[in-house]
């Protein structure tokens, strides 16, 4: 699977190529355009967007929602077809987790959990697509149509920390919002300052509680990113180093990854539910 690139690239170049993003952003001279080398991408700093991961993220999320809506509109209570049963089983799975884990009334949590679970599941599943198929085709198109030299094209959005942290920070914003809404600003700050050791230990309490609070979104986003990034990297190493022996190795790692892909989506969803449930707990 790495043959196409391996002839003209060293293994290191191959892996760097696969770990780079197709970046569109503002060049240091002020004009906007694609970065043609990793160095150019690095120079863009914050004012850049990863066209590949962002695009796959939007495409997969949009496909999931439109497909679910399509099935939902044709859903019948009396005579469900196979596809409807499949979608319903996902829906019920998520709904049961929400019912178990979220003990308050909030109609947003169910849809949020469903979106998180299915979207992340789809994004993670992209990791099981052989590493050079889409990336290789995109690199060819980039080279011949747009004049790129080794155009990077990453297809697994969850190996981009922007994607995972974008979601976990959104959930963090919801945690803060619902905490203040249900506990009041005083209640929320009080929870940080007066727990676990009462008002005489405020600095110590803050030292414990603030990292605890901040650790939630960071661990949530980085756990997902780390698992998928490591998985992707191992696929790349196998493809870059093992030659023909990569086939059984890819298979073995893909089988293991079949567990990681849904597990990480599930963990992200469960923690979202649990964190938001805690944010709704008025009496701590």
């Amino acid at each position: 699977m790495a043959e196409a690139g391996a002839e003209s690239q060293t293994v290191q170049e191959y892996i760097v190529h696969h770990l780079s993003y197709l970046t569109y952003g503002r060049h240091p001279d002020g004009h906007w355009g694609f970065a043609h080398t990793p160095e150019e991408a690095a120079e863009m700093g914050f004012m850049a967007i990863h066209v590949d991961t962002m695009g796959w993220s939007l495409a997969l999320g949009g496909a999931f929602l439109l497909w679910f809506r399509y099935i939902g509109l044709r859903a019948s209570a009396d005579n469900p077809g196979a596809i409807q049963n499949f979608v319903e089983s996902i829906f019920e799975f998520v709904d049961n987790r929400v019912t178990e884990g979220f003990l308050h009334k909030n109609s947003l949590i169910g849809p949020l959990a469903l979106t998180v679970f299915v979207w992340i599941l789809l994004m993670n599943t992209m990791d099981l697509v052989p590493v050079d198929w889409i990336t290789g085709i995109a690199a060819l198109i980039g080279e011949h149509v747009f004049g790129f030299d080794h155009m990077p094209f990453k297809i697994v959005p969850t190996t981009d920390p922007n994607i995972t942290m974008g979601m976990s920070l959104s959930i963090f914003a919801l945690i803060i919002w619902y905490s203040i809404k249900h506990k009041g600003l005083g209640g929320f700050l009080g929870e940080l300052a007066f727990h676990p050791f009462g008002k005489w230990m405020v600095p110590f309490n803050l030292m414990i509680e603030i990292p605890t609070l901040i650790a939630k979104p960071i661990s949530l986003g980085l756990r997902l990113f780390g698992n998928l990034y490591a998985g992707e990297l191992l696929f790349l190493l196998i493809a870059g180093l093992l030659g023909i022996w990569q086939l059984p190795a890819h298979f073995a790692w893909a089988v293991f990854h079949l567990l990681v892909v849904p597990l990480q989506a599930f963990v992200f969803m469960m923690l979202t539910i649990v964190y938001l449930n805690a944010a709704h707990d008025a009496a701590h």
């Binding site: 004012m47 999320g61 209570a77 009396d78 319903e88 109609s107 974008g166």
Partner: protein, 156 residues
């Protein structure tokens, strides 16, 4: 890690997707499942009702059967009694009739006997005279012996 505008793009996309899911996807399935739950509950309810109805119907039919049996037994009993009564009556009537017939027969016999006696009585004097005439070889004056003959006839 190169954090850039993508993180904002993803956050915005996440918000929009959640809103879309909340507004256009989640209710569809929630409604379908709710509707199915209701249908099943109604079906089970109807089945329970039907079972109750069946039970009451079978109880009613058993009761009616029991009632019919009782009434049939009553009717048979009554018929038996009536038959016995009729036979008794017939026997009684027959006995009465027999007695009546016997009495009539006895009366007739007595009457006949009396008549025969009477006839004998009226003929005894002439027999006696005829007998005496044979014995004496001459006519006997009936008038002269009238008193004796009457006495003889009365003794018979």
């Amino acid at each position: 890690m190169d954090i850039n505008l993508t993180i904002i793009g993803q956050s915005v996309a996440f918000a929009i997707f959640c809103w879309f899911c909340h507004r256009y996807v989640w209710p569809l399935f929630a409604n379908v499942l709710e509707e199915r739950k209701r249908t099943i509950a109604e079906g089970l309810e109807a089945a329970a009702q039907a079972e109750l109805k069946l039970e009451s119907a079978s109880r009613q039919s058993t009761e009616q059967l029991e009632e019919a049996k009782t009434s049939a037994a009553g009717i048979i009993d009554q018929a038996n009694r009536r038959a016995a009564q009729i036979i008794d009556e017939a026997k009684q009537q027959a006995q009465v009739e027999a007695e009546r017939v016997m009495a009539a027969a006895q009366a007739e016999i007595e009457q006949e006997a009396n008549r025969a006696k009477e006839e004998l009585r009226t003929q005894v004097s002439s027999i006696a005279i005829a007998g005496a005439e044979k014995i004496l070889g001459r006519a006997v004056d009936q008038a002269a012996n009238e008193e004796m003959l009457t006495q003889l006839a009365a003794e018979l």
